[in-house]
């Protein structure tokens, strides 16, 4: 992977019709000239350039670092196996600062300065939504690894895809049957008072209702809050399950204070591992989570029944059996999400091969080829598990893991089915012009 930065490269001035015609004429001349075959081969072996919009700084930096590691591992594997359409893959990284304004600029930079074939890798929802217009205007295929519902909502545009990780609406819907059957029927939700929390606030109640359970209280906590004790008396006494999705640095305080509030006699706890990605589950203060359950996209800890593909993926990315960097047990990964980078790159590879992708002039073909994909089989390219892909909403659907905290690690106790997370499409991107 390389970082590149051109500055006022006058060779990159906008192409006018006249220069284009001159270019075409010159190209035609070259085509009949001796030595063209060699020239043509040089062009066809030029790298496929992938612009990686990375959260190197800002609130998403912990994720960004692991997204980069996973991307590097996937690109290495793809290149060792012959690249895409026989061409090597080159990743160009630009930091978006986890900021939507800068994100849009970075997409513009990839499109007009680096002239990448696609843009890829964005995680945080507000950056995706802020960058999507720039991608659509530049007609730049934009493959995000965000898990937000924004892509599947069909509120973005035809150039935005999320083929490597499921969206949060699907994840929540998949969790409901297990919660209702195994944890309890009366659920109190505690969530941050911003969009990530609202997805859980809005999608969990109908999903639980369909399973004969109910949300009896919803407690929204402002993002600026640093102490949570005053909110806990709002939890109804008849609560059987506390469903928590607190995120950010305050999560350790949240868990500690919840433990102090309940002591040893607590309701069941169910949470999303987003709260504790890149955080050691054995950190002081998290003892209260012992025996509780978490959603995980891909398991952090190696499991006894891990497939050969999963083992190979973990080795390639460089995470040990505890989900930390090999050689540095304190460097805990974002395992539940970062597999999406690996899988997205293999989807890009498949779509480019299906489209016979040669260069930016084939971007529309790439979009259509991606939309035509329907299934991704479990294996080295999709180590997290099998997936289906809905080309109308540009979103994949897959299995989810429910893990229990026991003995200082997360053990998978249930895997959902793909069908558990399916829902009615909310629109159709394919009706939009390319």
């Amino acid at each position: 992977m390389t970082d590149k930065n051109g500055f006022f490269d006058l060779s990159k001035t906008g192409l006018t019709r006249r220069t284009a015609l001159k270019g075409l004429a010159a190209g035609a001349g070259l085509a009949v000239a001796p030595g063209f075959v060699r020239y043509s081969q040089a062009q066809s072996s030029a790298p496929i350039k992938i612009g990686f919009q990375s959260h190197r700084t800002g609130i998403g930096a912990a994720y960004g670092r692991w997204y980069e590691k996973t991307t590097a591992a996937a690109v290495k594997a793809i290149n060792e196996a012959g690249g895409i359409n026989g061409r090597p893959v080159e990743v160009i990284i630009e930091d978006d600062g986890t900021d939507p304004g800068r994100g849009a600029e970075v997409v513009g930079k990839f499109a007009t300065q680096h002239k990448t074939d696609i843009v890829y890798g964005t995680l945080f929802s507000h950056v995706v939504i802020g960058s999507a217009p720039a991608a659509g205007e530049a007609k730049m295929p934009y493959f995000v690894v965000s898990e937000g519902h924004h892509v599947a909502s069909t509120k973005l545009n035809r150039y935005v895809f999320q083929p490597g990780i499921t969206d949060v609406k699907s994840q929540i819907q998949s969790m409901a049957p297990w919660i209702a059957t195994n944890a309890g029927k009366k659920v109190t939700q505690i969530f941050p008072d911003f969009a990530f929390g609202y997805d859980h606030r809005d999608y969990l109640p109908p999903a639980l209702k369909a399973q004969g359970a109910e949300v009896i209280a919803q407690i929204a906590i402002p993002p600026t809050e640093s102490s949570f004790t005053k909110y806990f008396p709002q939890i109804p006494a008849e609560t059987e399950v506390i469903y928590h999705v607190m995120v950010g640095p305050a999560v350790l305080t949240f868990v500690k204070e919840l433990g102090e509030f309940y002591g040893s006699n607590r309701p069941q706890l169910f949470g999303f591992i987003d709260s504790l990605e890149a955080t050691d589950i054995n950190s002081p203060g998290l003892e209260f989570l012992d025996g509780s359950h978490f959603w995980e996209g891909s398991p952090r800890y190696a499991q006894p029944d891990d497939s050969a593909a999963q083992k190979a993926y973990r080795a390639a990315v460089g995470i040990d059996d505890n989900g930390a960097a090999v050689g540095d047990p304190k460097d805990v990964s974002t395992a539940a999400h970062m597999f999406g980078c690996w899988e997205t790159l293999y989807v890009v590879k498949k779509a480019m091969e299906d489209a016979g992708y040669k260069g930016p002039e084939d971007r529309a073909k790439l979009v259509e080829a991606t939309e035509a994909l329907t299934e991704f089989a479990e294996g080295p390219e999709h180590p997290q598990g099998p997936k289906t892909f809905n080309g109308k909403i540009h979103q994949c659907f897959g299995i989810q893991n429910i893990s229990k905290v026991e003995g200082g690690r997360l053990n998978v106790v249930h895997k959902t089915k793909i069908e558990d997370g399916l829902y009615e499409p909310e629109g159709d991107y394919t009706t939009q012009p390319l």
Partner: protein
Amino acid sequence: MKEVSPAKAYALHLGVIALLFALSFVLPEYHHGLLARIMVLAVFAMGYNMLFGYVGLLSLGHAMFFSAGLYGAGLAVIHLGWSVPAAFAAGLACGALLALIIGVLALRTSGVAFMIVTMMFAQVFYLIILYFASWTGGDQGLVVPQSARVLVLGSTSLGLTNPTVRYMSALALFSIVLLVTLAVVRSRYGRVLVAIRENEERTKMLGYDTFSNKLAAVVVSGTICAASGAAYALLFGYVGSTFASVQYSILPLLWVLLGGAATTLGPLIGTLFMYYVVDITSGYTSAYLLIVGIALILLVLFFPKGILGTIRQRWLGWLP
């Protein structure tokens, strides 16, 4: 500020506008797009400079005026289906009204208290955006549909997503605000504002109603910032709460300090400088903010009044 013939000042500003116009035809594609964004944000800085540079009121809440324009225009398109000119006018009106209300309340304070009060109001505005997430999109924000970002002029439709249209729209806004700013600071009213900055008590003794003059400056400043926000929503297609966060109140202060407070062209220079320092250094290291910090320290050491401010002090005393 030395007296200078209006022709010289206007010629300089018209020359800058002509240069920006000419750059549209020679800049590489990426820098063409980036400069359009910089011009829009330079308008934000010019609005800030109106209050900070000329009246001496340091606000830490101008992100709310930018966001008032951003959301005023963006939501008018998204929820009400308004046309681009109507939405832009809505953004301006939101900014002007908000500035009037905030001005009436905040101008009861001065100095550090003014900074704190404006920052608190901006934080309230930010939290309101998060609270009404069903309308505003909360922290994720909303996309202004590409199909709605079309400027219809008679029988001609101009898509604001077209790079040339976008650049020229940004340049038009920048030019209007630059010339209006120049006219204001050269007017009698502008001199009163400078008098308030230099010695408010003496200005009062001379018979000027300083509160009304300052309130008018807050409204003009807020409206210019809102114009920038409205243009940002319509030209770049995204409205989000990040633009209402405290970071976006600090940025215009930084741009103005860099370029030169109380100089009409300083905001453009500061925004341009800051943007390119970040853009270039972030390509080499993730610690680019460290380099930005060092660049700022060097500027403070060698250009204590900002780039244009120092140039005016040392060499070109006639710069407005």
